[in-house]
Amino acid sequence: MAKKSIRAAVNDALKLEMRRDPTVILIGEDVAGGAGGSGVQDAWGGVLGVTKGLYKEFGPGRVIDTPITESAIIGVAAGAAVSGLRPVAELMFVDFMGVCFDQIFNQAAKFRYMFGGKARTPMVIRSMMGAGFRAAAQHSQSLHALFTHIPGLKVVMPSNAYDAKGLLIQAIRDDDPVIFLEHKAIYDLEDEVPDEAYTIPFGEANILREGDDVTIVAISRMVHVAMDAAKRLAAAGIQATVIDPRTTSPLDEDSILESVEETGHLVVVDEANPRCSFATDVAALVADRAFGALKGPIKLVTAPHSPVPFAPNLEDAYIPNAAKVEAAVRATLAARELATA
């Protein structure tokens, strides 16, 4: 098995599915790059090169460069999805959702329900998320809570290359609209990734390590932050279970609840802003359905309630890190010790 980066794994998934299924198309800004220019076509393969090479293999009929008009990109994908294609639309940075949100949440997400179950809308919206690139307030956001809030959407947030490939193939084959969020700061993370196609079902968490003392739920890039914290904690004799739900909608509630039933403590790590967030979502789930097992407060480690700043030191302070996760774990465990003292 070869080592592949998340970037390569995503490319791989797209390539394999486009080979397998002629109705899969790619549409977005500069997904090839160079249309109409005086130089070469396939100049970019997306701003960060993720779709590089697909244009060469599949041509302009299936790797479709567009104007900078996201409502039309997403709307065209949605319209194509209900009429026979299986489009993968690229919404470059998820921060741009604001110019096309209607097509996502009022159109694609609601067709099936509004039409009484008579529509299938098999489309994927790939988009880059996350801070860490010194790209400031409009190019660094983690907006998965907004999509997770909306019924009809599925939301996928891979944390590693293996998952990225399997989840994206699943997303493409899935008959519902899927928001597929790639964290741009971990594109180069490598993993063992099989060459052939495989799928990972939605709503099945990945349990990265098991420990009796505390449950840490984290997604996307935050999984790595959580694992760092878990290692530090282990060194101090505190054993954490780390759960990567991989998809926020659907959510593998059982894995989270079962773990908290055992550990009695929950910390959620989420790069997004704190209010009405995925972090609060998991907390509320547990505060209801695993309440009896809880031995300490549920701690959330998130970005502050502020936009993403540009200055590097501020941005670094903005993003949750292992030290903060560790502190959160210690805080909830302290409550138990206090109680039993």
């Binding site: 104007p67 008009t69 065209v76 026979g84 519902d176």
Partner: protein, 322 residues
């Protein structure tokens, strides 16, 4: 583009069905039999039918909040529509969509739309499917004068030209977006010229209550789309006979204007022309009227009698699988 007698009768039947449907829906709505609010298409029949007479089942249309006419013209079941508008089980969308979300993908009807300007990108998407899958289909985006200003419409028009797809934009300029007149809300003054500036042939039908004028202009646009695989547009200047929604007292329209609208009734004009030219007899049209009336009556009976959806359906069909 001479229409056969059968086609003329079909066109009349569709227009008459739309009219009867809308008048009845309006009446039932005022009576309280229909939940929510409805936007009626009465007065604009020549637009939907003049366009859809050129379409087959595999062609696509995207519609608007004022969508009943488009549905009927495209061939959706009138009974299933009525049941849907009543919010009952067995409706075209199982009672979950209602008037503003009627859709029938099997009939190439991509859906009414509660979002002004929501439809055009979707219709371009269906045109892309047609091109990619080489189905030979075309896709029509119906939109209003108000919707013609919406950014999504501009984007869809440009996208259709760039992607070189067989999409036709049909702008039903009924003079108003809600209570605001086109002379105010459309800075350009001329929707067709603005549409043409996006890079496609755009024709204006000044008298959109004349079925034949619409039919011919739409024919040219659709032929262009089918033969060249490229977008085109038609603006149809028409008028709604009623308010924006059932119950709108329309103080923003003068009596004169409303009288003028009544005078230009597309059904009356159609009847006059085809009987005057001896193409179809008045008796035959009367017979159509009777059949239509019976159809609508049946639909209303069925809708009124239909049960509400089972309450378990509240949470079904959010996803294909979850």
């Amino acid at each position: 583009m001479q229409l056969s007698r059968d086609k003329l009768v079909e066109a009349y039947r569709k227009m008459a069905t739309i009219r009867a449907f809308e008048e009845r829906v309006g009446a039932e709505s005022v009576k309280g039999a229909i939940p929510g609010f409805v936007h009626l298409y009465a007065g604009e029949e020549a637009a939907a039918v003049g366009v859809c007479m050129h379409l087959g089942d595999k062609d696509w249309i995207g519609s608007t909040h004022r969508g009943h006419g488009h549905c009927i013209a495209k061939g959706c079941s009138v009974e299933a529509m009525m049941v849907e508008i009543y919010g009952k089980a067995g409706g075209l969308c199982g009672g979950k969509g209602g008037s503003m979300h009627i859709a029938d993908l099997h009939m190439g009807m991509l859906g009414a739309n509660g979002i002004v300007g929501g439809g055009p990108p979707l219709a371009v998407g269906a045109a892309l499917s047609a091109k990619t899958l080489k189905t030979g289909a075309v896709s029509v985006a119906f939109l209003g004068d108000g919707a013609s200003n919406q950014g999504t419409t501009a984007e869809a028009m440009n996208m259709a030209v760039v992607l070189k797809v067989p999409a036709v934009f049909v702008i039903e300029n009924n003079g108003y977006g809600e209570a605001t007149a086109v002379g105010y809300h459309c800075g350009a003054g001329d929707i067709s010229a603005r549409t043409a500036a996006f890079g496609m042939p755009a024709e204006k039908v000044e008298d959109g209550t004349d079925f034949f004028a619409v039919y011919e202009a739409a024919g040219r646009a659709l032929r262009h789309a089918r033969e060249e695989g490229m977008p085109a547009a038609v603006e149809i200047v028409c008028a709604r006979q009623g308010g924006h929604y059932t119950g709108d007292p329309q103080p923003y329209r003068s009596k004169d204007e409303l009288e003028q609208v009544k005078k230009n009734d597309p059904l009356v004009r159609f009847r006059k022309r085809v009987t005057g030219e001896g193409l179809v007899s008045a008796a035959d049209l009367d017979q159509v009227d009777r059949e239509v009336a019976a159809l609508i009556e049946r639909a209303v009976q069925k809708a009124a009698a239909a049960p509400l959806p089972a309450v378990e359906e509240l949470t079904t069909d959010v996803y294909v699988s979850y």
